[in-house]
Amino acid sequence: MPQRRDLIASAIVVLLLALLPLAGSRYAIDLTTEVMIYALFALSLNVLIGFTGNISFGHAAYFAIGGYACAILLTTYGWPLALALPAAVVLAGLVAAVVGYFCVRLTQIYFAMLTLAFAMLVWGVAFKWKEVTGGDDGFTGIKMPEIIAHHVGYFYFTLVVVAAGIAALWVICHSAFGLTLVAIRENSVRAGFIGVDTRHMRWAAFTVAGTFGGLAGALFGMYHRGMYIENAFWTESANVLIMVLLGGIYSFIGPIIGAAVLHLLQTFTNQYTPYWPTVLGLILLVIVMVLPDGLIGLVRRVRARGGRP
């Protein structure tokens, strides 16, 4: 069970977020909505990276599938949100299961390259299947249910869905399944010798990651009222990977911190200079050279030095 302290802290964060629309500007509300979506996206990727030790370079694929599927079902087929959203999430999970089936046969860089290859395939479909996805014009004009069409309504909707998604990921990551994934990350050969079918477990982790990535994508598409092929491009996969690394892969909340810091930095940097990619490069440099375990790792080290428990 979660520590009482963690439960109280989470409840306070959710409560403070829920109060934001009373005090915050439209800008603050929109920015927070984006951060919440990215936080869920980054957490979903960390099931693979931090918990299973498998680095995916193609996680944007499931984000895009969730986003496009939800958008198309709502708009083209006129499905209600209560059906379109779960269907989009299930579809992202199914595609992740199919892709994962092949990817988990490989390990390390070969695994990473195959995830990238499949993600480029998904991008190609979004680009070429113009009559369904809108091709490089994007899929725009998503029909939104009345209740969440307003930005405050959408903020609360995102808060509830993301909080539920994070809670579900917390339970999975701390379950017997999650602990076994960590054992696979630490030493997959040894995990085999205690009776764990490591390939099947990695496959399941891949599917879980894709499913929740799809949920984040669906929220993202509705928030922007559109999906664009850039959302499926490999740079989007790199972006979420950097969020995860920046926050720290060895803690559950690391990716949430990483998503918040990176997205806010990007937004503010773009207000002053067009050189975001340069800044991003510098951030990556700092992570690799001095923050191998991310911001959370830094906090832990500072605390340890201060002699605090």
Partner: protein, 250 residues
């Protein structure tokens, strides 16, 4: 006694180098059996072939009448064969406690449970195993930070968590001080006796081998050149020539 493990005509080579040459071998239920031989004799390869880490080129391995060739390690451990490794093979960033806990979770087939908190499972069983190998006071330490000898003890606890009937220990005392070696061997002997295990082990230290083994097989260039009681092996002229002789001179 009946044969628990029967190996017949086993071959394995790597890029032309023959590591296991026509090995035929029987392990009796309940015995303590040592495999000895100089470095590079093929002892670890032999263990890897039994436990599914390597697939033999030719020959058969059967455990309690069941053919093991082609089965992956995770299936073989579920049949009742667990092993430790010559080189440390633990989960370095997990705690000592979790290292053993995961093995119990896997043994009970709970690794597919996405809802039950992992840390709450098998607390008592884990505690008992840690006490058995003398690691109870290090339970919350990070496994990778333990001393070498203690990591070896942890290896043993992980192997025992799979509730094996046949235990394979690959150099359980390699790198240990004489004192640690003595303690480890005493505890292995007690555990094997208390649990009625069959033990197959490799070992460098001849005092350990002749102290606890009931039977000994000698591997040389991938071949078993002698097999029998400690006395028979000690007096075997071929063994004296290729192996024990070296020690007599040293």
């Amino acid at each position: 006694m009946t044969a628990m493990l029967s190996i017949d005509g086993l071959w394995k080579s790597f890029a032309g180098f023959v590591a296991t040459r026509d090995v035929t071998f029987e392990l009796l239920a309940g015995e303590t059996h040592a495999v000895i031989g100089p470095n590079g004799a093929g002892k670890t390869t032999f263990f890897n072939l039994i436990t599914g880490h390597l697939r033999p080129d030719k020959g058969s391995v059967s455990f309690e009448g069941r053919d093991l060739v082609g089965l992956p390690p995770q299936k073989i451990v579920r049949l009742g064969i667990a092993r430790s490794f010559q080189r440390i093979n633990i989960y370095p960033r997990l705690t000592v406690f979790e290292n053993v806990q995961v093995a119990l979770i896997a043994h009970e087939g709970q690794q597919w449970n996405l809802f039950r908190p992992g840390r709450s499972l098998h607390r008592q069983g884990t505690q008992e195993l840690l006490e058995l190998v003398g690691l109870a006071s290090e339970a919350e330490e990070t496994a990778g930070e333990l001393s070498y000898g203690k990591q070896k003890q942890l290896e043993l606890a992980i192997a025992l968590a799979s509730q094996p009937r046949l235990l394979l220990l690959d150099e359980p005392t390699a790198g240990m001080s004489p004192q640690e070696t003595g303690e480890t061997i005493a505890s292995v002997r007690d555990i094997v006796k208390a649990r009625g295990l069959t033990l197959l082990f490799t070992e460098h230290d001849m005092s350990v081998v002749f102290g606890i083994a009931e039977r000994i097989s000698v591997l040389h260039h991938g071949e078993i050149i002698a097999s029998g009681t400690p006395d028979a092996v000690r007096n075997d002229p071929e063994v004296k020539r290729v192996y024990l002789g070296e020690h007599a001179h040293g």
